[in-house]
């Protein structure tokens, strides 16, 4: 999805932070609670559809995405999915906070849950596909020119760029459809290497960028090198 969650190459977020040795997994106790609750509750409502959860993350308003960090956005995405599945009424969490503070506010009734009628065909994301891989290592490719309104694993900075297949990976369920509960559509995944100048122009730092891209994001082009 074209949203601020797709942030590769965007400037303005400041310097990278220096790693701290022995940083604990959760900076504050609520982060652990939000983490565990999200993983457990998501399993109950969406059959552990991680792509749907990631899509909920990217559908958050930018302030809800950024203001409370990583587990803050988990919490907000969990709430979004729970409201969409009618496990919770809209506003139920904020109302409960106000009651916990002692305010005399009426809580909405629990709605009737409305789980997506959808179940994955198997655990995890890897699947077998009947066809052999369409592309071989060394194949020059160009990425699609798309403007996704729903889930997609083709980042904006890698659209309409030329690269080279560097590895053939197992087939995965396609997040584009799986993440919105309309089908697994498993596809071959390829690692594609890009020259930094192809991505960022001739003044870029020289390096290679590799990304794991689904079959339908790629078109073969003539030649065997991307630059």
């Amino acid at each position: 999805m074209d949203s601020i969650a797709d942030m590769g190459g965007v400037l303005g977020y400041g310097p990278a932070s220096r790693p701290m040795a022995d940083e604990p997994p959760f900076a504050e106790p609520w982060e652990g609670r939000a983490f565990a609750m999200t993983v457990l509750a998501m399993g109950r409502i969406s059959g552990r559809n991680l792509d749907a959860f990631r899509h909920a993350l990217e559908r958050l308003s930018p302030l809800d995405y950024l203001a409370d960090g990583y587990y803050g956005r988990w919490l907000n995405a969990a709430e979004l999915m729970l409201v969409e599945s009618a496990v919770l009424a809209p506003g139920a969490v904020d109302t409960r906070v106000r009651r916990d503070r002692g305010e005399d506010v009426a809580e909405p009734a629990f709605p009737e849950p409305r789980k997506p009628e959808y179940a994955p065909s198997a655990p995890g994301s890897l699947r077998e596909v009947a066809d052999p891989p369409r592309l071989a290592v060394g194949q020059a490719v160009v990425t699609a020119d798309v403007h996704p309104r729903g889930p997609s694993k083709l980042p904006a900075y890698l659209r309409r760029r030329r690269g080279t297949v560097t590895a053939v990976r197992p087939a995965h369920v396609l997040p584009d459809t799986h993440g919105v509960f309309v089908g697994e559509n498993p596809q071959q995944v390829y690692t594609v290497g890009f020259d930094s100048a192809e991505l960022w122009g001739p003044d870029a730092e020289p390096f290679r960028l590799h990304a794991d891209l689904f079959d339908s994001y790629l078109a073969a082009v003539t030649g065997t090198e991307d630059s």
């Binding site: 983490f35 990583y70 629990f110 694993k153 730092e205 891209l213």
Partner: protein, 190 residues
């Protein structure tokens, strides 16, 4: 604008609502949190790396089928379905990111550290990795080439750092504590 309620308060409120709906059990949550605080973390990946350093046939297995070789040491599960190792050399430095979310190889490294989840890292390491690595305390010599890996699907990468000089006599148990989380993502060298 309306007041933003604190995430701590909102988390507690959501937990009480889900408990009332019988969708989560606080004691199961406690166990889950404890598992990622104590049992699943970079010590797992360190074991993989130390084994690869000391056992050439294990390294070969890692190169051919990292998922199976890592599972053989007892590490598998969500966010580790298809593992690939990247080996640092004198000439090439690998670094891993997930620009779209913060995908990370949980079974071998645990939950991601704050810098990995930080938008500053996600946005810039695919655009100016040498500058980002220098900011993070990992300046690279000019003659070392950089390979950046954006984990945009379900492949998860474990970086195998170079074995430090002078450790030829050490075994797996002595080597594993030398292997840091940051080196296994590629933002530090040993």
């Amino acid at each position: 604008m309306t007041e933003r309620l604190s995430p701590a308060e909102r988390t507690a409120a959501l937990e009480s609502l889900l408990v009332e709906r019988e969708l989560v059990d606080p004691s199961v949550m406690d166990g889950f949190i404890g598992r990622y605080e104590r049992d699943v973390g970079p010590m797992n990946g360190a074991r993989v790396v130390a084994t690869a350093w000391t056992d050439p046939s294990y390294l070969e297995w890692l190169r051919k089928d990292a998922t199976a070789a890592i599972a053989d040491l007892g590490f598998s599960g969500p966010q580790g379905e298809h593992m690939v190792v990247l080996e640092q050399t004198d000439e090439v430095h690998h670094v891993v990111v997930c620009t779209l979310c913060s995908c990370y190889p949980w079974p071998v490294l645990g939950l991601p550290p704050s810098w990995y989840k930080d938008p500053a890292y996600r946005s810039r390491v695919v655009r100016e990795p040498r500058a980002v690595l220098a900011e993070m305390g990992c300046p690279l010599p000019d003659d070392v080439g950089i390979q950046v890996w954006d984990s945009s699907a379900e492949v998860r990468y474990l970086v195998v750092p170079q074995r430090p000089a002078g450790t030829e006599e050490l075994g797996v148990d002595e080597l594993a504590p030398l292997v840091t989380r940051d080196a296994m993502v590629g933002v530090a060298r040993l």
